[in-house]
């Protein structure tokens, strides 16, 4: 899947949970992605988060940490 689509979708989710503050927002984003995203999409997102230069929202990057550890 195109990285731009994944980045846009993940950032949109983050934007709507940002009001919770980074830690809670990251947990909520991770939970949302776990509930609704196919595993392959999650894997691709984690790979994107590992790289540099991807315009991922900091909340998404934090959420990816939660996804990796859960």
């Amino acid at each position: 899947m195109a990285s731009s689509d994944l980045v846009r979708m993940a950032n949109d989710i983050a934007a709507n949970f940002r009001y919770l503050g980074t830690e809670k927002a990251a947990a909520s984003v991770a939970n949302h992605i776990r509930m609704f995203w196919a595993p392959a999409m999650r894997t691709e997102l984690l790979e994107l988060a590992r790289g540099t230069g991807t315009p991922l929202d900091p909340v998404v990057i934090a959420a990816c940490q939660v996804l990796k550890t859960s």
Partner: protein, 960 residues
């Protein structure tokens, strides 16, 4: 049914109240106070002769045929306008009454053509019946006197004709147009002998008539008659079934001669429509037998080759072989399926079962993804289940009605008529919509407030309403403390109370004056019964799910949930959006909205289906397209949807479809999507289907076959055979066995069966041990999730912004006479009203661009452009343009973008930054894509759609 079903007409509408007992011709009968003598008599088994009365209309008292004698009352009062009184003794048959009635009939017949034997209504005419009932034997006045025999027939409407020579001026049609439909298109013109029914001085076609058919239905003679009946003759038998258009789910009597449909008549006992209809359900069913129907399976190696007609066995084997080959090469997850909201629950259920059990993944989604998926997310989060809270009847108890992002008079017309009836009787209306939809000001209905907000600011507006409710102490504290979570209410309450959520702070964002927002909040909170009805103007936004939750918050905070007259009610677009969602079409949920990751739920289906099932969510519809372009998703089964026309960013969708190794389309017609297909399974129309649809009020309605499947197989049978060819045994003897399986595995449907539906007509889920006859109103006493949850709803503006290049906002929608991608309605005479998509724009925006009404314009966004005619309309706010997506020649979704709801990926159809440029006043040429399609369609006889050919002509025709 082997005979024609004729419903008993009780003459006047029912009344509610304490019972009184009267005696009719010596027979006692108890009826509610206020009931007419006519209705009481009919309930006692005595039908008083009548002509101007019918039980769908209030009594009128003009024909003087229904006279009765009442003990102690002077004269012979009309039974239709006389209410019963306790102890009343009524005589309906006396020598005096017989003489009076014969005299009345003589007068009617003296000015009526005596052509009964050649009249289309012969055998279906109340005037004829009454002449017999009163014993008319001669007419003392003769037939040579002044009469109306030279009046001309108005055949301008494509579906019915008006022959004034047969009119008895009973005013039923005029009253039906007013009371039932609420359009007020008809009137009685002239006085005395010159009185005549008139569509306000013009032809029916050119009038305000919306062709709902209510006038035709109540006409007691052949004055207003269906043209199909005139050409085919009176019907002989009835099959009760359900309309396959919008989410209202109207019940119809399909009236037939043999297997040929003569007419569709709305069924009085239909729970959703109670005897009313619209132009689509009533008349636009001819597509089912249209010559464009594909009736044989077809295959081809690649989409640039001609189609090859093959046997069912070969088509299924071919599809299975290629699907298996893809999975062997690219993995189990490389294929998936899309279910259709136009198909039955049973057809949808087997497709999602095939994907989960035979494909071995959860890559199944439904077209509801692109319309009401945010409803599912929002209402489940706040209330606990993904469905509207009320039945349609509930609106009759509403005092304040908020219509948000919906256009019921066009998209849900039969419910709109019900709503307008309530509004005419005093309920207050608030419309929240950028466009001035018809409901804002229509005969005898006017919105108290029209909040004409900027597209994309729904959530900001809703937060401002919440702010007023909380800060002005309008919260229903008792309801909130008893029924809702304390902690989430406290968080929400603090959130909306912040100054940045005040109407004053948000007025510049929403474009709505603060005082209007405050007035609406007070009105809604103080109801006492306030109801929200909403449509895709809520869901098809980047914050569609947030908006649904914001509305739910407001309803809970003001205690407007859990009884008649209130609620949060999604108006579903297609006939079975609710059902397709209920049946487990989403990639993360089994039937009944239970997550695939829930071990206990998965165990139910694994045991029922004998397969280990995937516990992770599959790909959503847009994810499938993205993955197809990326090359990781290679095979797709599409059931009854035209994604190449309906889904956003057409260029991207077509690129995805073109990338697939295998595309299987199951449909009635070779649609835009089929141009990319390798296998075509011909589908069945609603007149051939056997199953159920579920409407917007959760009503499970039976769909009964009127004729055998013209393609030779029910759609669910084809899916079962494909599944078997893939190695997973799936077999049902009939559709009712599929519903039995749904009931066994899905607690909210535990009590549903064809047997029950045949017995009681319809039920609204949940239907189970606790509610054996269903649940009209949900969340009474307790929410499905226990305590109601308040969700925080911060406003996050869409990324789609206007700029110098694209300074206007486009919103898209639908129109009364057309439906979705138009595959059905474009193949009917409905094109006479709306033969092309047009672009509505404000006069100032048009003037700025040198555009006049009717000009051909280019509509362009950052992803694509299309050409269509402009219509200058002050219904549009400045800066916003609007079009429909019914015609492939226009392909409005060429322009819409990839942006979507953050939670569900429902596309943001309602906000696209665009520019409009004048072109010329030439008619639209057939698009190169449409022309290019021809090569894909050979050698099918259905290569060219008549409407494609007609389009240039229609583009110059009238557009309403």
């Amino acid at each position: 049914m082997t005979t024609l079903l004729k419903e008993h007409d009780l003459g006047t509408p029912p009344r509610l109240g304490d019972l009184v007992t009267v005696e009719v011709d010596g027979m006692p009968v108890s009826v509610p106070v206020g009931t007419s003598v006519m209705r009481a008599s009919a309930l006692a088994g005595v039908d008083v002769p009548k002509l101007c009365a019918t039980d769908s209309l209030e009594a009128f008292g003009s024909c003087r045929l229904c006279l009765v004698e009442i003990e102690g009352v002077r004269g012979t009062p009309a039974s239709c306008t006389t209410p019963v009184a306790d102890g009343m003794r009524i005589s309906t048959q006396t020598p005096r009454l017989e003489k009076l009635r014969r005299g009345v009939m003589e007068l009617y017949i003296s000015d009526h053509p005596l052509d009964c034997l050649t009249c289309p209504a012969n055998g279906d005419c109340e005037l004829q019946d009454m002449a017999g009932v009163v014993g008319l034997r001669d007419v003392r006045y003769g037939y040579a006197g002044e009469n109306h025999f030279e009046e001309k027939t108005d055949a301008s409407n494509p579906y019915f004709s008006f022959d004034p020579t047969k009119c008895i001026v009973c005013s039923r049609c005029v009253r039906a147009c007013e009371e039932v439909q609420g359009t007020f298109a008809l009137t009685i013109e002239g006085r005395g002998f010159s009185s005549k029914v008139s569509p306000s001085g013009t032809s029916f076609f050119d009038s305000e008539c919306v062709s709902c058919g209510a006038c035709v239905q109540v006409c007691p003679t052949s004055t207003l008659e269906e043209k199909s009946l005139i050409s085919l003759g009176v019907p002989r038998r009835t099959v009760l079934t359900t309309c396959a258009y919008c989410g209202v789910g109207c019940s119809f009597k399909a009236e037939l001669r043999g297997d040929e449909v003569v007419r569709m008549v709305p069924y009085k006992d239909g729970g959703a429509n109670e005897g009313h209809s619209c132009v689509k359900g009533r008349f636009a069913w001819g597509y089912a037998t249209h010559k464009d129907r594909i009736l044989s399976p077809m295959v081809r190696e690649s989409s640039d080759e001609p189609w090859r007609e093959v046997s069912w066995e070969e088509a299924i084997s071919y599809a299975a072989t290629r699907l298996k080959a893809i999975q062997e090469r690219h993995g189990a997850g490389a294929i998936g399926g899309i279910t259709s909201s136009r198909c039955t629950d049973e057809e949808v259920f087997v497709v999602q079962k095939m994907v989960r059990a035979a494909f071995g993944n959860n890559n199944v989604d439904t077209c509801a993804r692109v319309c009401h998926s945010p409803t599912g997310y929002g209402l489940k989060t706040t209330f606990g289940t993904s469905a509207g809270t009320q039945d349609f009847r509930s609106v009759e108890h509403a005092d304040v009605i908020l219509v948000i992002g919906a256009n019921p008079t066009d998209a849900h017309p039969v419910f709109a008529s019900r709503m307008k009836r309530r509004l005419r009787s005093g309920a207050k209306l608030v419309v929240i919509d950028p466009r001035r939809i018809d409901l804002v000001r229509t005969p005898h209905v006017e919105a108290l407030h029209h909040l004409q907000l900027q597209p994309g600011t729904n959530v900001a507006l809703m937060n401002a309403l919440g702010h007023v409710v909380v800060t002005e102490d309008l919260v229903d504290r008792e309801f909130v403390s008893e029924r809702c979570e304390d902690d989430s209410f406290a968080v929400w309450s603090e959130f909306v109370s912040r100054p940045e959520n005040s109407p004053e702070a948000l007025a510049p964002v929403t474009g709505v004056p603060a005082e209007d927002i405050r007035a609406v909040a007070r009105l809604y909170a103080q109801g006492p019964n306030s109801a929200i009805y909403y449509g895709l103007g809520v869901t098809e936004h980047s914050q569609g799910s947030t908006m649904v939750m914001a509305m739910a918050n407001l309803a809970m905070a003001t205690g407007n949930i859990g009884r008649d007259g209130v609620g949060v009610n999604p108006l579903r677009g297609q006939n079975n959006v609710q059902g397709s969602c209920d049946m487990g079409s989403f990639p993360h949920e089994f039937a009944g909205y239970r997550h695939v990751g829930d071990d206990s739920v998965r165990a139910i289906f694994e045991e029922a289906w004998g397969r280990e099932l995937e516990s992770e969510p599959g790909l959503r519809l847009p994810n499938m397209f993205d993955a197809a372009v990326d090359g990781t998703f290679r095979g797709l089964f599409v059931q009854g949807e035209d994604v190449a026309q309906s889904d956003p960013n057409t260029k991207h969708v077509k690129a995805a479809l073109a990338s697939l190794d295998l595309l299987i389309v199951q449909d009635l017609f070779l649609n835009e999507t089929a141009a990319f297909a390798h296998v075509f399974f011909p589908g069945t129309s609603f007149l051939e289907k056997d199953g159920t649809f579920i409407n917007a009020e959760r009503r499970v309605n039976r769909v009964r076959p009127v004729m055998r499947p013209r393609n030779g197989k029910q759609e669910w049978e084809v899916v079962c055979e494909l599944s078997r060819a893939l190695g997973y045994e799936m077999h049902y003897d009939n559709a009712s066995e599929i519903m039995d399986e749904i009931a066994r595995t899905t607690p909210t449907f535990a009590g549903v069966s064809f047997e029950l539906l045949d017995k009681v007509g319809s039920v609204q889920w949940p239907c189970n041990e606790k509610a054996p006859l269903g649940t009209p109103v949900m969340h009474i006493g307790q929410f499905v999730r226990g305590k109601g949850h308040f969700a925080e709803t911060p406003f996050v503006p869409t990324e789609e912004r206007t700029n110098r290049r694209f300074p206007l906002i486009l919103t898209t929608g639908r129109i009364l006479t057309q439906y979705n991608v138009g595959a059905q309605t474009r193949r009917t005479d409905n094109v006479l009203w709306h033969g092309e998509d047009v672009l509505d724009m404000h006069p100032f925006d048009a003037e700025d661009r040198g555009i006049s009404d009717g000009d051909l314009v280019t509509l362009a966004s950052r992803v694509g452009e299309t050409t269509l005619h402009a219509r200058i309309s002050d219904k549009m706010p400045q800066g916003v343009v609007y079009t429909t997506f019914h015609f492939p020649a226009t392909s409005a979704n060429v322009v819409t973008t990839e942006f979507s709801d953050w939670a569900t990926n429902c596309p943001e159809y309602k906000v696209t930054a665009v520019q409009v440029r004048a072109r010329s006043r030439e008619p639209i040429e057939e698009s190169s894509e449409a022309a290019g399609r021809s090569s894909h369609r050979e050698p099918s006889p259905a290569n060219t759609h008549p409407e494609d050919e007609r389009h240039g002509v229609l583009a110059r025709g009238r557009v309403r």
